[in-house]
């Protein structure tokens, strides 16, 4: 069984073949799916744990603090302790709330990131599904998440929650537009929606460098719009604890609250992963022109490491935003979208089309 940290496709194919040979094709497929599902669930759990810890540490650094230091060395087990605490908390519910929808909402919120994460290419060949509609599918499933937020806000029977849900509805629906358009800018350049093809097309150089000005504008718009779509950073109007206490998840406690929390962090990871894949070449190593020595040295670093380095850089950027800026007001946020981001985006796509038509990119 061939195994290389540089290319996983042989490894995955071998496992697949082995499963099908040992069992019948149908059962082999099902077992394969189960393995993938378990891997992803484990990965998401790990992701939630580590991202919460990283966020707390990074936030502490921004604020000249130490952050969690008590549980484990440097507080590394703090999130585990928090999860244990959340599991044992009493699940509270308000009077007259719609119990069915109240309990359903956290799961709907979780569906979207779990579906989207399956399309992310972690390394060459390390991708669960590779649809030819790639990016479109990610955008499509992430639009389901908003339903969960709306349901959570409405079924809590709390006016603050309702306001929060209303805000997040308006926010997510309008910012989806900008996310799609900014991603389309790069699709124009790469000529495909399929994520593996987009990554492959950046073998010569990442799109953010090769697409120069329009690509950089697209990246900025993407970062801003996707921050807004994930209810984070300066766009956290849906929870806005100083205005509407905690917005749509005011009434949630215990493990159901943890679900919302987890969804937020997985969403953040997906944003960073999509950004890294589209703009920074996914798992592609950094290559500069024809400097053979440098390129070969970069090739030595495994693609998985490259991918996670890029993702962490973008996550750090998102955290930097969150811990620096004040929150926008809901109408200002909509103004930003419709008056600034959207027109810029459309102009940017035109510019990019011109660049592609004239072959002006590198």
């Amino acid at each position: 069984m061939g195994f290389s940290i540089y290319d996983f496709s042989d490894f995955i194919n071998n496992i697949h073949a082995f499963l099908i040979e040992t069992f019948s094709p149908a059962i082999g497929n099902i077992i394969g799916m189960a393995i993938v599902a378990v891997c992803f669930l484990g990965f998401i759990a790990l992701l939630g744990l580590s991202l919460v810890y990283i966020e707390r540490k990074v936030c502490a650094l921004f604020q000249q603090r130490l952050g969690p230091m008590r549980v484990g060395k440097w507080g590394t087990a703090q999130t585990v302790a928090d999860i244990i605490k959340l599991i044992f908390k009493e699940p509270l519910m308000t009077k007259d709330s719609d119990k069915f929808l109240f309990n359903l909402a956290p799961f709907i919120v979780m569906i979207a990131p779990v579906m989207a994460i399956s399309l992310i290419p972690f390394a060459s060949g390390l991708q669960a599904v590779d649809f030819d509609i790639g990016i479109f599918f990610i955008v499509a499933v992430s639009s389901i998440g908003v339903t969960g937020i709306l349901l959570a806000g409405w079924s809590s029977n709390n006016k603050y929650s309702l306001i929060g849900a209303m805000r997040s509805g308006a926010q997510i629906v309008s910012y989806e537009l900008s996310v799609i358009l900014s991603l389309l800018t790069i699709v124009v350049l790469s000529g495909s929606l399929q994520l593996s093809v987009i990554v492959e097309s950046q073998r010569e150089g990442w799109w953010i460098f090769r697409g120069h000005i329009p690509a950089i504008i697209a990246f900025i718009i993407f970062i801003v719009a996707s921050t807004a779509e994930s209810n984070r950073g300066p766009f956290d109007m849906a929870e806005a604890e100083s205005e509407i206490t905690a917005g749509f998840h005011t009434e949630y406690s215990g493990i159901k609250f943890a679900y919302f929390f987890l969804a937020e962090y997985v969403n953040m990871f997906i944003i960073a992963a999509v950004g890294a894949t589209i703009f920074f070449g996914g798992w592609m190593p950094l290559h500069i022109g024809n400097i053979e020595f440098f390129n070969n040295a970069m090739d030595l670093i495994p693609p998985v490491i490259w991918f996670f380095m890029k993702v962490s850089a973008i996550i750090f950027l998102l955290m930097w935003f969150k811990w620096t800026f004040p929150r926008l007001r809901i109408d200002q946020m909509l103004t930003l979208e419709w008056k600034y981001l959207l027109p810029l985006n459309i102009m940017n796509i035109l510019l990019m089309s011109l660049v592609v038509l004239t072959d002006f990119h590198f």
């Binding site: 000249q64 006016k159 109007m237 100083s242 620096t324 004040p326 926008l328 007001r329 809901i330």
Partner: protein, 371 residues
């Protein structure tokens, strides 16, 4: 179409902001009448932290009254103490030594600085920038250390006694204060970089919560909140007490009357406070730290009033004496109470998010309102 628009009934609804709410900074309850997110009416409900300080004063001796005022506006407690002491000294017709006056002024300005630093941090936090909260506290910590060393407590200092101070300043006081000034002069521009110039912050505050000069006067708004509307009301200038008549400082006036003007007024006041401290810190006159007073103070029968400028505005202390060792009646005209009364006027027509900004620029301290 217009008919349809008229026939559609929209319902206004009530929402309780507080008594427990992250941005009321205490147990203030605001009953909001909302149309969507737009505020139609704000009704403050008070009394959740009422401890009847004024009534308690009536059974206390004049020395004991002082420490109760720590608990009113806990961020400007030295100034509250000073106000009571000044009133009692006025009743006794007692001239306090120069040294006391200067020290009181320096510590008052340090109190004002620390209060404004906390306000700045909290204002940032109310608008969603949590990092500013920590930065504000970081710089305030140096001042509380100075207080702890000289007065013995960090928050409820109780450093004043009628006739002077409880004890002399600590030998380190001048050095530490100078160190702090040096440090803070570097940090205050950072405040500007983080919030004042920030496009999101200016959008959130410019044109929000307008209060005209006339309204400011008629609602009795005082302090930086009123001076941002162009109402010149600085007691330190109008009616100098302690050592304010011998220092050179500007009264900060803005005319815009919106949240941003109130914000700028406080930032500018921090610079002025530093200027005042700089002028006095090297010129503390030698002398006694306390004038001679009797162990049991009895004010001659009559009514006494003294006003001072706290970080939030004008604090008036009104004492009626009937020649006993405890006052017959004490009344505090607290700035927070009057400032709060203008909230409804300022917030109407704005959104919930703006209400939060307006409340933080009013710089409310709830125990100061309820007493």
């Amino acid at each position: 179409m217009e008919e349809v628009a008229q026939n559609i009934e929209t319902q206004e609804y009530f929402i309780n902001m507080g008594p427990q709410h992250p941005s009321t900074h205490g147990v203030l309850r605001l009953m909001l009448t909302l149309d969507g997110e737009i505020i139609k009416k704000v009704q403050p409900h008070l009394g959740y932290i009422h401890r009847s300080i004024e009534k308690m004063c009536e059974k206390d001796s004049y020395q004991q009254v002082v420490h109760l005022t720590d608990r009113m506006d806990y961020l400007g407690c030295h100034i509250n103490n000073e106000a009571v002491c000044l009133t009692v000294e006025k009743g006794l017709e007692l001239e306090v030594p120069d040294r006391v006056k200067v020290i009181r002024t320096i510590i008052s300005e340090l109190t004002r600085l620390s209060s404004h630093q906390l306000w700045w941090g909290v204002m940032g936090m109310d608008l969603g920038a949590i990092t500013t909260f920590l930065y504000g506290f970081r710089d305030r910590e140096m001042i509380t250390d100075i207080f702890e060393e000289t007065c013995g407590a960090r928050l409820t200092m109780n450093y004043n006694v009628p006739g002077g101070l409880m004890f002399d300043i600590h030998p380190n006081f001048q050095n530490r204060t100078k160190q702090f000034l040096e440090h803070f002069k570097k940090k205050l521009p950072e405040y500007d970089k983080l919030l004042t110039g920030n496009v999101i912050f200016t959008e959130r505050t410019k044109g929000i919560g307008y209060l005209s000069k006339e309204d400011a006067i008629s609602y009795g708004v005082t302090g930086p909140s009123a001076r941002a509307s162009g109402f010149s009301c600085d007691v330190r200038k109008k009616n100098p007490y302690s050592a304010y008549d011998r220092v050179d400082f500007k009264e900060i006036l803005f005319t815009e009357g919106d949240c941003f003007a109130r914000y700028q007024a406080r930032i500018a006041e921090m610079w002025e406070s530093m200027k005042i401290i700089e002028q006095l810190i090297d010129n503390i006159p030698e002398g006694e730290y306390k004038a001679k007073t009797k162990a049991v103070i009895k004010l001659p029968p009559g009514e006494y009033y003294q006003r001072v400028e706290t970080p939030r505005g004008e604090l008036g202390v009104y004492i009626i004496s009937d020649n006993k060792k405890n006052p017959y009646r004490v009344k505090f005209r607290s700035p927070g109470f009057s400032n709060l009364s203008a909230l409804d006027k300022m917030a109407r027509g704005f959104k919930i998010a703006d209400l939060v900004a307006i409340m933080s620029t009013l710089d409310l301290v709830i125990p100061d309102i309820d007493r």
